[in-house]
Amino acid sequence: MMSRKRLPMMSQHIPAGVAYNILTQLPVKSIIRFRCVSKSWNSIFTDPIFITTNFKFNQAKSLSNNSRNGYLLYKENLSYGVKESHIVVCNNDRSLSRVCSFEIPSIHDHIVGFCKGLFCFTGSMDDSYQRIYVWNPSVRKITIAATANNVGFAGVTLGFAYHLQNNDFKILRLVCFQRELLYGSDGAEAEVYTLSTGSWRRFVVSVDYWPFIRDISESPSLFFNGALHFLAQSGLFRFIMSFDVDEERFHKIMLPQNCFEGFFQHSKCLVVFKGSLALIVFDCNICHMWVMREYGVVESWTKISVPIKGVKRFYGCTVKGELLMEKSHSQIFSFDLESLNEKVLDIPTTAKDVIYTDNFMESLNLFDVIDSEDY
């Protein structure tokens, strides 16, 4: 498969297996650049097995690397009227390292999710999230992954997941119809798009005794433990709806009692807090977090309440369990729940459309997409 390489001052050749090991440990940018070294190198780097091996190497690296946390993306309007996007990585010590800055078409109006090195976005809400993009920032490729059907007046929720068993990616599209006028009942339909096959599969949603989902929250879905999680509501009953990506089945997870009682609640969402599923609710000047210490076990919901003043927006929870938020004066800061310590992050106050995702990781996925927009 590959030519033996001779290294300086050495009379022996490096065995092919060892050379392959070296190549899989190169950073993605170098791999892309070295494609033009020779034809055999190019064919190694574009081989699906190499891409998978490199992916696994990067995955192991991202899970073991304790100094990094996640990506922060934000846009800035530059003085000459151009929009620039920046990606920075949050380090454990709350410092930021710049990954890249670039001009990109404003497609990230609505982020669906981030898994294993790939971002998933849709365009505007106007077209019912029909166009779905998948983007790999480490190879600088964006592709239109899927185009869904127009569903007219309906609530649409999307989720982006990594399918471990097939080393593949899936996009879930949930549509909630309000057919009261016509049929006297509501309904929900689900479609799953598989990245490798490029096809949609449709099925009806039924969750235990609650066959109809009236309202699926538009806060982003959470991919955790091999399933997508959404805050859902059927009538007055609120719960977490989970979609197992491998079995392609829905399950219901009960929420803690009285978690949505409070007059001034805003920003309710699901996060991963130190390896557990958690619900965060901001109520006036208090942040409530319920952590499901044992996944799926309702009795294991444990509440933490912490006073935090002036929170305007909540962005996410880091691997170390710090909350990333924006205060009224547009400064983004990280808040440690245990020490109650705050630190302002070095992001300009003019930053817009801030997105936080965790598990920074490089990969070669999508490097060969032709029908994409490069930048």
């Binding site: 030519s3 050495m10 490096i14 440990q25 020779s38 034809k39 190019n42 490069d374």
Partner: protein, 147 residues
Amino acid sequence: MALELKSSDNKIFEVEELVAVQSETIKSLVEDGCADNVIPLPNVDSKTLELVLDWCKNHVDMKLDEEKLKEYEDKFIEVDQAVLYDLLLAANYLNIKDLLNRACQKVADMLKGKTPEQIRETLNIVNDFSPEEEEEIRKENLWAFEE
């Protein structure tokens, strides 16, 4: 229990079994009951074997102290190219996974910043692309060639 290893230049090293079996190759010999006499290692010279055994010993001693081990590994791998490649080949021959991975990572680090031309020169590879074919790959991925 102690084992005896003989390098290619006929130097004998006495090593504790616990240290030596970090090498999967030696471990198999022990398990097959072939390690009673001196074990010849014709592919590894004494200089390299001494380094390898130091790695193995420290991995036994510092097993529980992740930070200290990482510090040791970082310092250990700071060797010149010739020694690095000897370590690479020895780790492969002796099948010592963590040493092999670390050495490969070091080589990858040395290669990563180079241009394709420098890679070809260092590794003595012939460019079999036509100028047009090479240009097409470059054009597609301009950003990878910038700093």
